[in-house]
Subunit: 216 residues, 4 copies
DNA sequence: AATGAATGAGATTTCATTCAT
DNA sequence: AATGAATGAAATCTCATTCAT
């Protein structure tokens, strides 16, 4: 799955990157408010600080902007993961918890961006959509790796299928924090949310019967 | 939160209902493929089997169609729940499992509709959106009731907050079956998916260590 | 110039007349508020107390309604003139004044109708417009006759051209009462207006120097 | 009463003025033939020499065009008055006559525009209509001033009310030249018309008995 | 004779994209 | 490299008119 190259008329690559960053910032802020379809290219140009003509020096179609936005979000997710130095190595339960915790924090920081990406990515065409879906899979893969390491280390007893499903579960429960913010974020702080979710993940609801003494 | 009344020019109420049903069916099938914004009113009219003029005898604005679609989906969800006779009464673990199982099956049956609703409902205006969000909350409430019954019966030991969070978790894990279908449904059958999710929910991942003998 | 016959599908002539009267009444009241173009046939039907289908049993095109309205207004003008028993016979100055007075009162009574007619008659087609313009001319002709009688009687010394122009002047000064109502009717009562206009007509502005003793 | 500002997307103000002038010219010529409602925006665009898209770069709603047309007509009227150097200063009868004469000539030159304005201005919305009506009043005010000057100078003996009414009379008798052109302009040349009207205004119909020797 | 559901031509308006400057 | 005026395809929505019942 190759990264889609968006053609620019401008040659100076450094300039291209700079302008596109401005564009993405402007676009995300508008998409958040009005969604991709309700946002016009003129608005994006104005919000980004240049003219409609200039905008089209750096992209070819409006959809390119959406692709750039989605792509940039994934980049930022990966960067954040790096910053949080997700401990993929140790394969301990504590490391796993820390990894999940970090993932939840990343989702919190980028919740607007995630919202935009999930609500609008269906507007991508056949050419760019697969690349974005691929990125989506990779996110689950990061968690899958951590889980697998724990299984290999004998810290967890899970089948390959269970690991795969679980990794998607965690991804989705993370996104839930952002997507259902209008109800969830009124009930819990981020830390409360994380603690409760990790408790549920590790112990389930039956085990809760006598899990008061479990660390979480 | 009152149900929004969509005005029709046609007087015959039975006819209005019939035509709107045709419209909703046509619209869902198109929204699935192209989303709300990419679908034109003319396409909806054609797909529904009548002319653009007739379409506008039964609605006033394009957005009305989206509202009708969302509303109809919730109606169908409720109806399906009824059909599956969700056992809210007993408050047993077995009843709870059955309830969750049923919910997952409903999501499976209506997965296209859910997808449309979640991706497009943000296109609703201030007047209609709250009604749809309310419906969304009610869905979680159904599950919350079942869980609460079990807690009251002493079958589960969960705080009020845990029950609330859990109900949202279940809602979201159900939707995940439809939303991530391009990866999840390639890995599991619906029954496998349900069994595994219920296992995770009840026992968590630690308990899995020695949960081979647990029925699920 | 023949009266245009508007075709009706319904045979019963008495019924046709009755329905058309209802139609005209409804239409005038709507045209007053919104003008011909902004008024829909559905609205006219509803205002007239029958269905759109029925409306079209009595006319063939929307424009027919406008024609019927214009025609009816002229009929009413003539009837009013009759009621006021315009004294065309005597050919005295006093009779002339009375005739003008009466005309002004008719304009006052039918000012809404006149307004509609003048603002909308240009929407008539080539076939019906000439008939309406003809009616317009006839109105001036009524006044022309009165003036001519006075000239013949030696009460006035006016050339044929002067009589013709004067008759149009009077027609227009009458309409002015209705057309500029938003300013004129705030300044004068109808009687004041009539008195002043007759004074001006008869004596002009120079004569006013020493016309205080003139009856008007 | 503030001049309504019509928003344009194009920034270059000189260009906006130029294009709008083209638009107004095109629109007036079409409104004359078909009226505001029967004229489509596409026709206006074509007649003005640019595309429909370009048209909407210079206005926002079709009604804006009507407003621009009305506004431009008043501007031209004022300009014409200036060109004719209406003699407001002297306050002589001769100056008054010259003023009236000039007004009649302006009406003649702009008769198409006046016709459009009077027939269509009711299609303006609540926001723009008052401004246009105000302009209408101002026209009468110009004549009122001239008359008042003569009264102050002792050249005329008229009450304040008489002056006000008279100014409206003159405005209306001017418009009559354009509005009843289909009959009046067949009977008289403009100069004949002016002479006769001034005679009537100054001397009335009674005074005509022995006014042959009066200059007019 | 009365009804009102159905129709579709046509109107206004938007907006992605181009291209001359 | 930057600008923004110009374009026109396409979208939504209206409404006069018809016709089966």
């Amino acid at each position: 799955m190759k990264k889609q190259q968006i053609q620019a008329s401008v040659k100076d690559e450094r300039l291209v990157e700079k302008r596109r960053d401005e564009m993405i910032k402007g676009a995300v802020s508008l998409f958040k408010k009005k969604g991709f379809h309700r946002t016009t290219t003129r608005e994006i140009a104005r919000e980004s600080g240049f003219s409609i003509g200039t905008l089209y020096e750096y992209i070819r179609k409006k959809e390119d902007i959406l692709y750039l936005v989605c792509d940039s979000i994934y980049d930022r997710v990966h960067t954040k993961f790096e910053q949080h130095k997700m401990d993929l190595e140790h394969g301990t339960l504590e490391g796993l918890k820390q990894g999940i915790r970090n993932y939840f924090r990343v989702v919190d920081e980028l919740q607007d961006e995630f919202l935009v990406m999930y609500q609008e990515s269906k507007s991508l065409t056949k050419e760019t959509l697969p690349y974005v879906l691929q990125k989506e899979k990779e996110m689950a893969l990061l968690l899958e790796k951590m889980l697998t390491r724990c299984v290999e280390n004998g810290e967890l007893f899970l089948s390959k299928e269970q690991v795969q499903l679980l990794s998607h579960n965690i991804v989705v429960l993370g996104q839930m924090w952002g997507f259902r913010r209008w109800v969830i974020q009124k009930m819990f702080t981020l830390d409360e949310y994380i603690d409760m979710q990790i408790d549920f993940l590790f112990n389930g609801i039956l085990r809760n019967k006598n899990s008061e003494n479990l660390e979480n």
